[in-house]
Symmetry: C2
Subunit: 345 residues, 2 copies
């Protein structure tokens, strides 16, 4: 249990350290605190805080920095999100104000905006329905030997892939296959489709195509891509700013983590309605030891739930970041509602 004064001190330590990056000592605190106490008193209180594992020293006679637990306490009990700066509001308004022709443009743009506002790395996921279902599949012949496969889900995702085919294409055969797919698989969730694709579909297709394997490869490819959560990243390069003493290896593993599509869910974690903050080693991934991740969901009514996140150094100004994330999720939800409303009539 912390006393009022200890909370005040912890808050000041976190705020000071996140702003300056320098361990904070008792004297500086004494000058700065609203109450009037001597540095010796502060030292005593700090010793108590250290006892509880909330702050720590970098060496035996240094000032204190927050521990992971200290940040945690701060974020859970002490922080108050900053209101947006007027300038930030302008940035959001103007960047999100334009006309968009597809959801993905808005979501991708959002990642850029967030990274600009925070100068960290930002992630955005578009709103997803829990289990999106296959709503259509086509094969469009393009040129002499090219075909495009297009897959559409009921949440409006479109995935496509162009590929070359050998020999003459029999239009009727293609139509038959497409009809088969649409008859048998439309309405199923994507994992179900994938399962069927490995089970009874091949046999059925064999009726129409002499070499069905090529087709199955393509279809499977488009399908898995559609089933994967797509996310956008903004401000990738900002990670470079925090690579302490140029630790190339950890930087590399960080980037591979970010670029590997399939891991993103495990990194961002379960969606929750609140804004969530995970600090340093609270995340299992070792490459994130010195980073904190702020994630938040946003709701677009019946169109599902999306997610935004920012990744920055553990020592980030949480109050400001929470303010930005909190405000931006609202703005984004509003923008998307407008968007859907326009196109849904």
């Amino acid at each position: 249990m912390l006393s009022e004064r200890q909370m005040m001190i912890l808050r000041a330590v976190v705020r000071d350290f996140t702003n300056t990056g320098v361990p904070v000592g008792s004297k500086a605190l004494a000058k700065q605190l609203p109450i009037h106490v001597s540095s010796a008193t502060i030292r005593n209180e700090m010793a108590a805080l250290e006892e509880q594992g909330l702050i720590k020293k970098t060496h035996s006679s240094s000032g204190r920095i927050p521990s992971v637990e200290g940040y945690r306490y701060y974020v859970d009990h002490l922080v108050k999100p900053d209101p947006l700066r007027p300038n930030d509001i302008d940035v959001i308004q103007s960047s999100l104000g334009g006309d968009f022709h597809k959801i993905d443009e808005i979501i991708s743009q959002s990642a850029t905006i967030l990274s600009n506002l925070t100068s960290y790395t930002a992630f955005t996921l578009k709103p997803e329905l829990k289990d999106s279902r296959l709503s259509g599949f086509r094969l469009v012949p393009l040129g002499k030997r090219q075909i495009m496969a297009i897959l559409v889900t009921d949440s409006g995702d479109v995935e496509n892939q162009t590929f070359d085919v050998a020999g003459d294409v029999d239009g009727e055969q293609l139509e038959a296959v497409v009809r088969l797919i649409n008859d048998q698989l439309v309405g199923l969730t994507l994992p179900e489709v994938l399962r069927k694709l490995q089970a009874d579909i091949p046999a059925k297709i064999a009726h129409y195509l002499q070499s069905p394997q090529g087709f199955l490869d393509i279809f499977g490819d488009v399908l898995t891509r559609a089933a994967q959560e797509r996310f956008y990243v903004g401000g990738r390069l900002n990670l470079l700013n925090f690579s302490q003493d140029s630790d190339v290896d950890s930087l590399k593993s960080l980037y591979s983590l970010i670029d590997k599509t399939d891991d993103i869910a495990s990194v961002l974690g379960q969606p929750s309605d609140k804004i969530s903050v995970r600090i340093g080693n609270e995340m299992t991934n070792d490459a994130l030891r010195n980073f904190s991740l702020i994630t938040a969901t946003y709701d677009v009514d019946q169109h599902g739930q999306g997610m935004i996140a920012i990744l920055g150094p553990t020592r980030m100004p949480y109050s400001r970041m929470l303010g930005i994330v909190g405000a931006f999720r609202e703005e984004l939800a509003k923008k998307l509602l407008d968007y859907y409303r326009f196109y849904d009539e």
Copy 2:
């Protein structure tokens, strides 16, 4: 003009320095050279080489390192491409051996292979005809409010874009527009199409669509994307290995350079039949001061000419790199010929 012996020494300096990264001194050279001379003699020769600006000292009493001019001389007159290591051959064979369904997969895979072989960053461009022409345009309605625009060029490039439309789509109107585009624009080069798009097309389209601007935006977007040279990058992260003393800023500008699609042509330069090496500040771009770029074209007969490139530190083992690039361009051309042959029948 260099004497036989001076060439020998220059070659040894470059080879030694690119291998070890340590300035090379007269004593070490004396031991290593095939002829038997004293270190004093070497010193004299080195002074002569320095006189000509081919090597330089890092400080007044250090060993020598090659200057840009020295590398240039080495590359132009002294280097002999290394033959591939057996292991490298295996890597190429197995990575390029599989079945591919589209050119782009091969080209993108090539970038990865090249970066693996060299442990540098690699670029690949697919074979392009000089002026590819528009060969077809479609609009495919996908769902209730979604349309996909597809553009095909005569060199087989496909560019597509999905977008949302408001209100009900009139299928006949769409067809009319598509027919108009195909009638008027097919067969023109992409820049010509782009010009027409800004000139007389809007008026004509206005007959069929009440709000043509949206359509023009989309079409223009797909068109410019198709006109842009697409390139693939492998081993991006390898650049991190050479950021001396973690100079974050230059690293950032390097990455933005690489990611900015439109600049790549200016970076890679004019295609030439020979393998070209550009060293350090021979490239105008400042971010590349400490890098060298090896580029090579490859020919796929009537399907045009493509390009491969690797970007690494100025201090790279040129003989090995030239060997790899030289061998790989051949392998790639062969693979692509096979590919085209298969699909062209």
